[in-house]
C-alpha cells in the first residue's frame, strides 16, 4: 500500500500516522488515563451538589471540559473514534502486505532460518535415509496441514507446517473492537433506557428516559398485577418479584413474574426489576382531638380529598405523602403534608408524622391531628430498555475471546526434518535433525521440536 519512496507525500504521511502502533499506544493510554478522572469526579450529578463540593470556579471549569459527563463528551467519543480509525487503517495496511504471507499459493521454507534456529534435536539411527523417509512422511503429513519432501545430495528434507491461519487472530481481536464500538453506537442511536414506577394494579404505557427526562411511549402497556418482597432471616432482602402483564390493543399478550436477573422481554423491549417502593393506600383514618373538650373525632381520609372539620369550622386536606421527611434537620420518617383551611382566618400548612401522634400538639391549634390505619401498597420500579446493538456487541465479545485465544495460544509453526545419510544413500545409518521455527513463541517451539523428535524416535522402535 505505501512504499518507502513515496512516504513523504502528505496523504501517505497521514496514512502512516494512522497506521502506527505508536498512535495506538498513545490512544489506549489516553483512554485509560482520562477514564480515571470520571471515576474520581462523580458523573451526572446535580449542579448544586457540584458547586457545594468543588466551588463555583471548578464547577464551571469541569463543565466547560465536559468532565461531569465525561464518557459521553465529544472529546472522549473522539478518542474512541480515533481508535476505530487507527484499527481500520492499521489492519488494512498490514493485511494488504501480509495477505500473501498468510495465504501463499505454496508455502516457502527458508533453510537458512531452520539452520539458525536454536530449536533443534539431532540423533542417529540405523535405518537408511529411504527407510527413514518412508517411516516419517506419513506421520508428519498427518500431523501438519502441509508437508513437502525435498531430495538433497545426501538424503531428504521433510518440510511441514501448520497454523498459518492463526496469524489472522489479531485481526479477529481488532475486528471485535469494531463490533463492540459499532454495537454501542447503534444502541445509543436506536435504543432507549428508561424507567417507570407502576403501582400494583395499575399499568403504564410509557417510560421516562434516563438521560433526557422525557416520556417515551412504548406501544403497549405494562400492568403490574402484584409485587412481593421476601426477606432472609437476617432481614436482608431475598427476592423482589413483580407479576407483569403486557397488554396491547386491550389484549393480554404475555404474562411473567420477573425478579432481579430474570427480566421480561417483549418486542425488543426489556423490563428489569430495578427498585420498588411504598405508596399510600387510598384510605386512612384521621383523628382530630379537641384540645378543650377532650373529644376525639374520627374521620375517613384520602389524599387530596377535603375533610370537613367538626362544627363546620373549616376543612382539612392532605396533599401528599412523603417517606423520609426532614423537620428541623431531623428525619421524622413518613409524613402526610397538607393544609388546614379554617372558615375564617389564615390557611395553615400542616405536617403529620405517621409515627408520632402527639407531634401536631406543637402547632397549638384547636385540634391535635393525627393519622392512623394508614395502609400501603407497593409500586414496582422497572428499568425498561431497548438496545438493538446488543447482538453486535455480543458477537464482538465472542470474537474477542476467540481472537485472543488464537493470538495467544496458537501459532504458526514450521518444522524441517533433515535426513542425512551417513555412508552412502542406500546403506548405513541416517542422521536425523529436527528443527523448527515459529513467528512468535520460541519457547513453545522448543517443546514442539522436542516432542516431535521424541515421537519420531518412537516410530522407529515399533
Amino acid at each position: 500500500m505505501t512504499k518507502a519512496s513515496d512516504s513523504h507525500k502528505p496523504a501517505n504521511r497521514l496514512w502512516n500516522f494512522f497506521a502506527s502502533v505508536k498512535l495506538s499506544v498513545a490512544i489506549l493510554l489516553s483512554i485509560a488515563v482520562t477514564s480515571i478522572i470520571g471515576t474520581v469526579v462523580p458523573q451526572n450529578g446535580a449542579p448544586e451538589a457540584y458547586v457545594e463540593k468543588y466551588g463555583k470556579f471548578l464547577y464551571n471549569f469541569f463543565n466547560t471540559l465536559d468532565i461531569l459527563d465525561l464518557y459521553h463528551s465529544w472529546w472522549f467519543q473522539g478518542l474512541l473514534f480515533l481508535l476505530i480509525i487507527n484499527i481500520v487503517v492499521c489492519s488494512i495496511n498490514r493485511l494488504s502486505s501480509t495477505w500473501k504471507i498468510i495465504f501463499p499459493k505454496k508455502p516457502i521454507f527458508n533453510m537458512n532460518q531452520f539452520k539458525k534456529s536454536a530449536n533443534r534435536e539431532e540423533w542417529t539411527q540405523s535405518h537408511t535415509v529411504e527407510e527413514a523417509k518412508n517411516l516419517y512422511v506419513p506421520y508428519i503429513s498427518k500431523r501438519f496441514s502441509f508437508s513437502r519432501v525435498d531430495e538433497t545430495d545426501a538424503g531428504f528434507k521433510i518440510f511441514a507446517e501448520k497454523g498459518r491461519w492463526t496469524r489472522l487472530g489479531v485481526y479477529v481481536v481488532h475486528f471485535s473492537i469494531l463490533c463492540l464500538l459499532t454495537g454501542s453506537l447503534i444502541g445509543s442511536f436506536f435504543g432507549f433506557d428508561g424507567y417507570v414506577n407502576i403501582p400494583v394494579g395499575k399499568s403504564a404505557d410509557h417510560v421516562t428516559l434516563k438521560n433526557k427526562g422525557v416520556n417515551h411511549p412504548l406501544g403497549f402497556a405494562i400492568r403490574c398485577d402484584d409485587f412481593k418482597l421476601r426477606f432472609y432471616d437476617t432481614g436482608m432482602p431475598k427476592e423482589f418479584r413483580s407479576t407483569l402483564t403486557i397488554i396491547k390493543n386491550n389484549k393480554i399478550i404475555k404474562q411473567k413474574d420477573i425478579i432481579v436477573n430474570d427480566p421480561l422481554r417483549y418486542d425488543g423491549v426489556n423490563m428489569f426489576q430495578a427498585s420498588y417502593g411504598k405508596m399510600p393506600a387510598d384510605r386512612f383514618t384521621v383523628i382530630l382531638a379537641d384540645v378543650r373538650s377532650g373529644i376525639k373525632y374520627k374521620k375517613g381520609g384520602a389524599i387530596r380529598r377535603p375533610i370537613e372539620l367538626p362544627d363546620k369550622s373549616g376543612y382539612l386536606i392532605f396533599e401528599q405523602y412523603r417517606q423520609n421527611f426532614r423537620f428541623n434537620g431531623r428525619n421524622i420518617g413518613e409524613v402526610l403534608i397538607g393544609g388546614l383551611i379554617p372558615k375564617t382566618g389564615e390557611q395553615k400548612h400542616i405536617i403529620i408524622p405517621l409515627d408520632s401522634p402527639g407531634f401536631d400538639r406543637m402547632r397549638n391549634g384547636r385540634f391535635v391531628i393525627s393519622v392512623s390505619n394508614f395502609g400501603f401498597k407497593y409500586y414496582t420500579g422497572l428499568q425498561v430498555t431497548r438496545d438493538p446493538g446488543v447482538p453486535l456487541v455480543y458477537a464482538g465479545f465472542l470474537l474477542m475471546i476467540i481472537g485472543c485465544y488464537i493470538t495467544f495460544f496458537m501459532f504458526h509453526q514450521k518444522v524441517c526434518v533433515e535426513l542425512t545419510s551417513k555412508g552412502g544413500k542406500t546403506g548405513g545409518k541416517t542422521q536425523i535433525t529436527v528443527s523448527g521455527i515459529s513467528g512468535k513463541s520460541k519457547t513453545s517451539m522448543k517443546t514442539i521440536v522436542k516432542r516431535l523428535a521424541r515421537n519420531l524416535k518412537r516410530i522407529q522402535s515399533v
Binding site: V21, K22, S24, V25, L28, L29, I31, A32, S35, I36, G38, T39, V40, P42, Q43, Y71, S184, D193, Y232, T234, M236, P237, K238, E239, F240, I259, V260, N261, D262, P263, N270, F272, Q273, A274, Q383, V384, T385, D387, V390, V393, Y394, F397, M400, I401, C404, Y405, T407, F408, F409, K442, T443
Partner: protein, 275 residues
C-alpha cells in the same frame, strides 16, 4: 472441622512452603525445595477442600451458594488460583527464583483474608443470584492471579536489570532477563485473556440484571482501565525501544490498577461496593 479452621491451617501451610522455597534458594539446596512442592500441593488441597466445605456449610444454613460472593471468598479463591498457577510454572520452567516470588503471594492473601476480612457466610442479595456471578468472579480472579505473578516476575526483572546483571550475589541467581521478559509476557497474555472474559461475563450479567451491559460505574471503569494498560503493554512490545524495562514497569502499573480495581474502588461510589 469448619471451613474457616481448615482455611486457617492452610494459610500456615502456604507460609511454611514459602519459607522452604526461600531456604532452598538462599542455601542452594534442592531438598527443602522438593519438600516445598509437596507442601504446596497439600496447601492447594486444603484450600480446595476449604472452599468445598464452605460451599456445603452454606447449604446447611439454607442459603446455599457458590463461595465466590464476597471479599473473603474471593480472596480465598484468589490464593488458590495463584498457587495452582505457581505449581504449573514450577513444573514447566523449573526456575527456583519464580518459586520464591510466587509462593508467598497465596500466604499473604490468605493471611490478610483471615485477619482483616469478615468471613461470615452471608445470604446472596437479589442482584448476586445469578450463575454469571460464578463465571464472572472465577475468570476475573484467574486473570488477576496471572497478573500478580507477572508483577512478581517484573519486579525481579527490574531488580536484576538495575543491578549489574552477571554478578554472583543474590541477583546472580535470578534467571536471565530474556527468560523473565518472556515469562512476563506469557503471564500477561494469559491474564489478558481471562480479564477479557471476566469483563465480558460481567457485562452480560449486568445486561441480564440491570438492562445495560456497560454503565461506566467505577468498578467497571477501573477494570477497563486495567485492561487498557495491559493492551498498551502488549502493543508497546512492538515499538522499538519498548522492550525489557519499560514493559516491566507497565506490568507493575497494570498490577497496581488490578489492586485498585479490587480494593480501591470501594472507596468510590458505585454498584459494585458489595464486593
Amino acid at each position: 472441622m469448619t471451613s474457616s479452621h481448615l482455611l486457617s491451617i492452610t494459610t500456615f501451610v502456604y507460609g511454611f512452603a514459602a519459607v522452604m522455597y526461600v531456604f532452598s534458594w538462599i542455601f542452594k539446596k534442592s531438598m527443602p525445595g522438593k519438600t516445598a512442592v509437596v507442601v504446596t500441593f497439600a496447601a492447594v488441597f486444603g484450600n480446595l477442600a476449604g472452599i468445598g466445605l464452605r460451599w456445603t456449610e452454606s447449604y446447611k444454613m439454607g442459603i446455599g451458594h457458590a463461595p465466590l460472593s464476597n471479599l473473603y471468598e474471593s480472596l480465598i479463591f484468589f490464593a488458590l488460583v495463584i498457587a495452582i498457577l505457581h505449581l504449573f510454572i514450577h513444573f514447566k520452567y523449573k526456575l527456583r527464583m519464580i518459586d520464591v516470588v510466587a509462593s508467598p503471594i497465596p500466604f499473604l492473601v490468605m493471611a490478610y483474608a483471615s485477619l482483616n476480612v469478615n468471613n461470615a457466610i452471608e445470604p446472596l442479595m437479589p442482584a448476586l443470584q445469578s450463575n454469571w456471578l460464578i463465571a464472572h468472579v472465577m475468570t476475573c480472579f484467574i486473570g488477576y492471579s496471572a497478573f500478580a505473578i507477572a508483577f512478581g516476575i517484573s519486579v525481579m526483572f527490574l531488580v536484576k536489570s538495575s543491578t549489574d546483571g552477571g554478578k554472583p550475589g543474590i541477583t546472580g541467581r535470578i534467571p536471565d532477563l530474556a527468560t523473565l521478559d518472556d515469562l512476563t509476557h506469557r503471564m500477561v497474555t494469559f491474564g489478558f485473556l481471562f480479564l477479557s472474559i471476566g469483563i465480558i461475563t460481567g457485562s452480560v450479567w449486568a445486561n441480564q440484571a440491570w438492562g445495560r451491559y456497560w454503565g461506566w460505574d467505577p468498578k467497571e471503569t477501573w477494570s477497563l482501565i486495567t485492561w487498557l494498560i495491559y493492551a498498551t503493554l502488549l502493543h508497546a512490545r512492538m515499538m522499538r525501544g519498548w522492550q525489557g524495562k519499560r514493559i516491566a514497569w507497565l506490568s507493575c502499573i497494570g498490577f497496581m490498577a488490578v489492586i485498585f480495581t479490587y480494593f480501591g474502588v470501594n472507596l468510590l461510589p458505585g454498584l459494585h461496593s458489595y464486593q
